[in-house]
Symmetry: C2
DNA sequence: TTGTGTGAATCCCTTCACAGCG
DNA sequence: CGCTGTGAAGGGATTCACACAA
């Protein structure tokens, strides 16, 4: 659920200590939904929340982190050390949120062996070995479209748990392996669509 | 509508020339929806499609491009010449799809004046002037979270038509200015959420 | 016969409204 | 009282099913 991430983000504005509380109203005002929506969303996962008071900030943060699965560290391998890969690798929020990029792979001989910080770029051929040895959970796919499916197949066979895909292709994966697609062109098209047709409602 | 972009993408696999046709069934199989869904989506915008035959590939492409507003060129300014900005600037698909990055701005004195290809990075202070002089349609916001709202306000006042926002903040904009948010951490959280709870249904 | 276009049925998500607990 | 939790109502989107055109 995307909104849960928003709630978690919104809660960072509040003090975790001191037993403070937030109402569904307050959470709704950030994160642009309604109070009823917030309550429904949260009630799906149990009923923590004090009637007449609101939700305990600290408890709610813990709950949301558990629900979203960010109460642990995720081990990530980045495949594709191009521009997008480099941007992602440096993105400070990833590590801060528990996504730990422990390996970078590329198939370009000119890049293999180079160092990013103290991470050495290795050959994509080592993918399976890296996944197993480094106990990788997630693959961030930042390779050209033509290579994406092959890398995916190999990662899946090696036992990966999920894929964040930047390649503009629909990956074929077994049902139990979730894929999230990020397609920048489609985002721009969504913009021009909304501009072209007036109604800018999000 | 996000699915329309998918249809357009799927159609690239077919030959535009030669008066070929596609059925809703074929379009559905790529783009992972149902045939009924495809027909409903398209019927919203008129009924072009020959019963018993399918849709003319060439005509459908034209229609979709018109609907999505990609039958014209969009003039884009990139604000923020960091890692993400650089990745976006080099992203070959943007220009190919009609999104033309005609200016790059940054507020870091070390970057101002540098050249990317034959585009010179200019001072973010020039934003308003650039928007007007270069007849900019869209802003791609790749600045730190703290700077995002200020840049947004200025771009909106200068008459921008839409914003693609990479900063992890919810921008306040007038209702008629559409914003598309890209939040990489939220994508990863969506992944870990789905992994944590089993059901990987997209 | 084939595959679109579309009302009708269905499902799911959001909003409403309020009972009930602190 | 104030605010949560939740059944009920409402609305929008998906799916079904079939008349109809090529």
């Amino acid at each position: 659920m995307r909104r849960l991430s928003h709630y978690l983000r919104a809660l960072e504005g509040f003090d975790r200590n001191g037993g403070g509380t937030v109402s569904s109203e307050e959470l709704a005002s950030k994160g642009h939904t309604t109070a009823a929506q917030v309550r429904k969303d949260l009630s799906h996962f149990g009923s923590f929340g004090k009637r007449g008071l609101g939700y305990g900030v600290s408890e709610l943060v813990d709950r949301l982190r558990a629900i979203l699965g960010v109460d642990r560290a995720w081990r990530v391998v980045l495949v594709g050390a191009g521009r997008i890969g480099s941007a992602l690798f440096e993105y400070p929020d990833f590590k801060a949120r528990g996504y730990d990029c422990v390996a970078v792979l590329d198939s370009d001989p000119h890049k293999i062996g180079a160092k990013w910080g103290n991470t050495t770029i290795r050959d994509t051929a080592e993918l399976e070995a890296v996944v197993v040895r480094e106990q990788i959970d997630l693959v961030v796919l930042a390779v050209p479209a033509v290579a994406a499916q092959e890398v995916t197949d190999r990662a899946v066979r090696a036992g990966i748990k999920g894929i964040l895909n930047f390649a503009p292709v629909r990956l074929k994966v077994p049902a139990q392996v979730p894929v999230e697609d990020v397609n920048l062109v489609m985002e721009l098209e969504a913009l021009s669509f909304r501009i072209t047709r007036g109604g800018a409602s999000e």
